[in-house]
């Protein structure tokens, strides 16, 4: 189906009016044209493309100058009101996309699913950022001390792209 979709898009893009546009954005945005919606290669013999990628970072939304931590971020559930989870996307095809974030507990159970729609403009170079706030203080995470190593699994348009690690301490 992906290949057929690609052909359909290319059929229109090869029209003279669109061809110049294609040539004009043959960099990052061009990569979006020749990939499917998740930014992964669409096949064929077209130019080499970079798959969509994401970086997950965390910060304490209750602190001044919230600092991002991209790896092995740990926090105490007793003193962080809200955890901010930020996903920075790169090499994503232009258009509307659906991001899903799954919060996996230390025992692997699924705690929450968070879904966002975002738009990558044709002039955006394939990048975008999505922020979500997750209450900690007063929530079950703090009250029931659901502590240990959590994972944040991030998907784009239904495909898992990356997983971030987070440590919650009592």
């Amino acid at each position: 189906m992906k290949a057929v979709k690609l052909q359909g898009v290319l059929r229109h893009l090869l029209l003279p009016a669109a061809l110049g546009w294609l040539l004009g954005i043959s960099g990052c945005a061009g990569a979006g044209v020749t990939t499917n919606s998740s930014g992964t290669p669409g096949g064929g013999t077209g130019p080499t493309v970079t798959p969509a990628s994401a970086m997950v970072s965390f910060c304490n939304a209750g602190q001044t100058n919230c600092q991002s931590h991209s790896a092995n971020f740990s926090l105490k559930t007793s003193n962080i009101p809200t955890l901010n989870v930020k996903v920075d996307w790169a090499n994503v095809a232009a258009g509307t996309h659906s991001q899903e974030m799954r919060l996996l507990m230390p025992n692997g159970n699924l705690f929450e699913r968070l879904q966002n729609t975002f738009v990558v403009p044709r002039s955006g170079g394939g990048s975008a950022s999505v922020n979500r706030n997750i209450p900690i203080v007063g929530s079950y995470i703090a009250q029931r001390q659901l502590t240990g190593g959590w994972k944040v699994r991030v998907s784009l348009d239904g495909k898992v792209i990356t997983t971030g690690d987070l440590r919650l301490d009592p």
Partner: protein, 819 residues
């Protein structure tokens, strides 16, 4: 002649037998938009079919339009057009979905060969406000995140759209509606041309709408499914477990595709049957030898009934059963396929080799613990899978509903007696906050009073706050054999935005008109709650009340004669602190993570909050007492730090109790204040000493109906039982269940076998614990799921059944007492 009589007799007996046999099968129904919803077999009352136009972004298409427009425009010209179809799927019970095919009749095909994508919409749209859906808006108050619709661009494509019937396979999304992991809300589908902004000249096609003159051309969805078995129970014995179940009736006006021939039962030991335990549709099951595991999991098949008749019971004693182990069962109905011989479809979602890679069908599940002694033989009354961690207490309408609102964008309602669906899952727009206080209120139809302007008759209601900063009121129409079921009646957007994540942690408090005295001046039910908008120095949170007839929180507005709602926001500090006689607060309001408490007798609302963990700062209270009619701050006080637990009252509402994060209990007189400034609520007696084990969770449970008051609270590792004699809190017992306990629950008739009052807690050891309130003993337990944390339990006071969720994505019901 004799032979003919015999044949007639045999034929008659055969027909009699056919009538008597339960009908269960792989069924097929067609959901189709029909005019204004006039079909008695498929009303599609809460369906939407619209088209939206980039060139007129604020305009909604007319309900009379005979066609839905889909157009690819020239890049930069804003000419794209998209169609929206949202089917009312409540007619289909919880099932294993075998296929879902969308049919779109194209009246006019695009001039060039176009490909149209059909993608699931990912934002809440209101079926009640179709005239507000446009390129910019999804409801009257809410805009799309992405103009033109929020969607997941992954589903299916109609290749080379042509005039006439066009089909697309939407099975994947339909599987998710019926128990995806986690389940997905049904917000409909967006239909768009793949070549938007990439054509030289506009390419438009027209899809017949529900207003098309030919009803059979209206958009339709043909769904094949196998219903799950119902009322699954397990009875443990000595070295054996007996399972029983029933088959639900055929859906009205469905077509039988493949007859059901029985069930396949999977079993796992000391953990639920895994979601990966799948059998490939179209094949025979693995050997029933109790040792061959299924699809690489630890689960095995303990029985497979194919052939004649529909079994409704199974004695599990042939495979090795060890007393004191807990066995978990999952039951799939199986439908025999015409070919190849011996092949079956199963009431599961997905296959072992295709999407989704895990079962997400909400198949019937049960567990049991056999034992040599009757006292050790345990089993839940029922298990209901919900697909996501469910730690908040289910809401019980005895005999009617167990409402579970977990973080999966859905409100689910189960029959509290059987665990079967009581309503079809209701889609809301954001995940529901998962706090201790987020038990949602439930009102029966004779109790709910949401005003005359809704256009609905008396229906049961529930209210909940979601992560998209909206508050939803949900009608709980019962699940019918055909027609409609639960639905979002209305929603509230008090912060004026929508999509603000992390807005609510606490739950919705309800001031029901049916339970109010004459001092309540509101004409209808009122919902009251507080926000938890955290920043670097949160001081401007809001407490608000909305009259349910209009869900307005603006003073003086709303339904005619209602006087409207009210709201107070923190952040305007005066020297007198928070006390005021007007509706405007004059203090800081930090995040509110608890559910407000409504004092029906005195028509006041008590709210606890954080206060920057400050002590004795009159401008930053952590307890507020408000006038329920106006929102005026009657009194406020700082007890010396943050508070996450909710206030509670005694049964006669003569005292209000508050438990703090410092582990201290306070009692207040609900009718008295101490003159300030600032004006503070009048404390009764002395506060307790710190319980010394962290914050008090949930709320202080008042377990007696008269003084001296028996108070039960859970802290980090203990359940603490205290007495309050009007002057002092006296510690009676400190119970150590050797785990992290939930909030406790008790009931007026919840006694153990010795007629002593008990309380039940859920624990992080995967068990429910029975606490004796007379002796302080942790005297009996029930195994829920040993690998998970158990949530806040609820009690069905009509049956003394404890209903509780777990982080394993299931809700369990156990009969109490355990001993």
């Amino acid at each position: 002649m004799a032979m003919r009589r015999t044949l007639v007799l045999l034929l008659g007996l055969a027909l009699l037998g056919m009538r008597a046999a339960p009908v269960h099968a792989q069924e097929e129904v067609t959901l189709q938009f029909v005019g204004s919803g006039g079909s008695s077999t498929d009303p599609q009352l809460r369906a939407v079919n619209k088209w939206i136009d980039q060139a007129s972004p604020g305009t909604s298409s007319s309900a009379a339009d005979v066609d839905l427009h889909v157009m690819a425009g020239v890049g930069g010209a804003n000419q794209n057009r998209r169609a929206i179809v949202d089917f009312d799927i409540s007619r289909i019970p919880r099932s294993g979905i075998k296929s879902a095919i969308m049919h779109l009749w194209v009246d006019t095909a695009p001039a060039a060969s176009e490909n149209w994508d059909i993608d699931p919409i990912t934002s809440f749209i209101s079926w009640a406000q179709p005239s507000n859906i446009s390129w910019t808006n999804r409801t009257n108050q809410l805009i799309w995140t992405a103009p033109g619709g929020d969607f997941n661009p992954t589903l299916c494509t109609i290749q080379g759209v042509a005039a006439g019937d066009n089909t697309c396979d939407v099975t994947q999304t339909f599987m998710n509606y019926f128990g995806g992991l986690p389940p997905s809300p049904n917000d409909g589908y967006l239909i768009l041309d793949e070549a938007e902004d990439a054509v030289a000249t506009p390419e438009e096609g027209l899809i017949a709408s529900n207003s098309n003159g030919t009803l059979t051309h209206a958009p339709s969805l043909v769904v094949d499914f196998i219903q799950q078995v119902h009322s699954l129970t397990a009875t443990p014995g000595n070295g054996q477990v007996v399972l029983n179940w029933t088959y639900p009736p055929q859906v009205a006006n469905s077509t039988i595709v493949n007859a059901t021939t029985g069930v396949v039962i999977l079993r796992n030991t000391n953990a639920p049957v895994e979601d990966l335990a799948l059998i490939q549709d179209g094949t025979a099951p693995p050997p029933v030898d109790c040792t061959t595991t299924v699809n690489g999991t630890a689960s095995t098949i303990v029985v497979f009934n194919g052939g004649t008749g529909l079994p409704t019971t199974f004695l599990d004693n042939t495979c090795t059963i060890t007393n004191t182990n807990t066995y978990y069962y999952k039951v799939f109905a199986v439908a025999s396929l015409p070919s190849p011989p011996g092949a079956y479809n199963y009431s599961q979602n997905g296959n072992a080799t295709s999407f989704p890679a895990v079962d997400s069908s909400f198949a019937a599940e049960i567990s049991a613990t056999p034992d040599a002694t009757p006292a050790g033989q345990q089993a839940p009354v029922w298990i209901a899978p919900v697909g996501l961690s469910a730690l908040n207490a289910p809401s019980i309408d005895p005999g009617n509903y167990a409402i579970v609102a977990v973080d999966n964008f859905l409100v689910q309602g189960f029959n509290p007696t059987t665990g079967d669906d009581a309503i079809a899952p209701v889609s809301v727009g954001g995940f529901v906050g998962g706090p201790a206080g987020s038990r949602v209120p439930v009102l029966e139809s004779t109790e709910a009073d949401f005003g005359p302007s809704s256009g609905f008759g008396p229906i049961p209601m529930t209210y909940l706050a979601a992560d998209d900063s909206l508050v939803y009121d949900v009608g709980l129409e019962p699940f019918p054999p055909a027609g409609h079921s639960g639905f979002v009646l209305d929603f509230l957007n008090p912060l004026g935005g929508g999509g603000v994540s992390g807005t609510y942690v606490g739950g919705v408090a309800l001031q029901a008109k049916a339970f109010s005295n004459s001092g309540n001046t509101k004409p209808n039910d009122v919902i009251i709650m507080g926000t938890a908008v955290a920043g670097t120095t949160p001081t401007e949170n809001t407490i608000f009340a909305a009259v349910t007839c209009s869900l307005s929180v603006a003073p003086g507005t709303g339904c005619a004669g209602s006087g409207g709602g009210w709201n107070i926001s923190g952040g305007s500090v005066t020297s007198t602190g928070c006390s005021a006689t007007t509706s405007a607060a004059t203090c800081n309001i930090d995040i509110i993570t608890s559910t407000p408490f409504v004092d029906y007798k005195n028509n006041t609302v008590w709210v606890t909050s954080h206060n920057g963990n400050s002590t004795a700062d009159v401008t930053s209270p952590d307890v507020l007492k408000l006038d329920a009619n106006s929102g005026a701050v009657l009194a406020a006080v700082s007890l010396g730090g943050d508070i996450d637990s909710s206030p509670t009252g005694t049964q006669d509402q003569s005292l209000i109790f508050v438990g703090t994060n410092a582990g201290v209990l306070y009692a207040f007189d609900p009718t008295a204040t101490d003159t300030g400034p600032p004006v503070t609520p009048h404390q009764v007696g002395n506060p307790s000493t710190s319980l010394g084990d962290g914050a008090i969770k949930g709320f202080p449970l008042v377990a007696s109906s008269s003084p001296p008051w028996l108070i039960v609270v859970s802290t980090t590792t203990f359940v603490q039982i205290l007495s309050f004699d009007g002057t002092n809190f006296i510690s009676l017992f400190t119970v150590s269940p050797a785990c992290n306990p939930s909030s406790p629950v008790t009931g007026p008739h919840l006694m153990n076998g010795a007629s002593q009052p008990i309380a039940i807690i859920g624990c992080s050891d995967g068990q429910l614990h029975q606490i004796n309130l007379v002796t302080g003993a942790d005297e009996a337990q029930r195994v829920v799921d040993p690998t998970t944390t158990i949530g806040d339990p609820s009690l069905d006071i009509s049956t003394n059944e404890v209903i509780v969720g777990s982080t394993d994505g299931r809700v369990y019901s156990f009969k109490a007492p355990f001993l």
